[in-house]
Assembly symmetry: C2
Homo-oligomer: 200 residues x 2
């Protein structure tokens, strides 16, 4: 299921779709997926429920759109840092994890949906499969660059580094969400990054 397939071709339509997604992102974060209704999203945008369904034919579609938006916002933050000239892979990932730790509701939403998405019949299955392929591709390229510039040790296949980094971030989220008082996500990731940096 392609959550991002536009149901509109006009700039006004795209803007409306964007307003709905941002309202949904805010409401899902505040009240959870189950706690935020399509009616509440519609009310926040000032349109009818039918108006929301025109862009997103079900609440699941809306949710997948929100998850895409979340990824886009993360990518935009990373690019902003890159433009500021001080971005590197390690800092970028630590920033994502700190951000997720401060936004447990949306992180929880993502964790549950990604896990449910492992079932081939789940409406989000392909979306998550593609998402992780994309994440691995981006991280592999970033790891290769970090190796070439000497920031990462160069004796590990960058594709393995990518799989490992994505895995640690997801696994830390699970432990953190189950036990937020006991688990900090930043320090273990920082430690892995130090190991990948070849610190003796």
């Amino acid at each position: 299921m392609a959550a991002t397939r536009p149901r509109t071709t006009t700039p006004e339509g795209r803007e409306q779709r964007d307003r709905i997604l941002r309202a949904a992102l805010e409401l899902f974060t505040a009240h959870g997926f189950r706690g935020a209704s399509l009616d509440a999203v519609a009310a926040a945008v000032g349109i009818s429920r039918q108006g929301v369904l025109h862009y997103f034919p079900s609440k699941t579609h809306l949710l997948l759109g929100v998850l895409d938006l979340r990824d886009e916002l993360s990518a935009a933050r990373a690019e902003e840092r890159a433009r500021a000239g001080n971005w590197d892979l390690a800092e970028g990932l630590l920033d994502v994890v700190s951000h997720n730790q401060r936004e447990p509701d949306l992180t929880r939403l993502f964790t549950v949906l990604a896990a449910e998405g492992v079932a081939p019949e789940h409406p989000g299955h392909e979306r998550f499969q593609e998402r992780y392929r994309h994440v691995r591709t981006v991280l592999t390229q970033a790891a290769r660059e970090a190796q070439e510039s000497g920031r990462f040790r160069a004796d590990i296949d960058p594709a393995i580094v990518a799989t490992l980094l994505a895995a640690v971030m997801d696994g830390l989220q699970l432990q953190f969400l189950l036990d937020p008082e006991a688990v900090d996500m930043v320090e273990p990731l920082a430690q892995l990054l130090k190991l990948l940096g070849g610190e003796q």
Copy 2:
């Protein structure tokens, strides 16, 4: 919810409970949680549905019991290796991961339930919270021993090593289950273990 609270005090009762769990483990693995009914579990043991419900008041209770059993079997395999005198932490974890890669159905069941369990109102929430506390405690102790014997580099807090190892294993499962053709779990874990071993 304590899935393991015995509803029986006699040896016969414990044996019956154990037979139900093993039948459920087999059926859930073959047909998934949704695909295997309480009736099918009862039929496999040769008792009535009511007989199953005497030990496990709901299908969720039965599932939590199965997950406990899965952890116990993993622990038993580790102990068997330890008795054979050739166990170490790295080998033990690689063995668990290879095993999970060969049993994707039960691994999927565990991954989905653990993620759903992050919601405080989920019937398995406390069970998974306790499970991860236990896993971190066991892994922390094992990491400390590996550091003391020189198999792991000693400059990382063993509690951080434990959190990291558990996280990588869970995150690898998610990627593997979404995309079993593209993702191998063993090699990335082996790589992390090499880094923790201080290989230059």
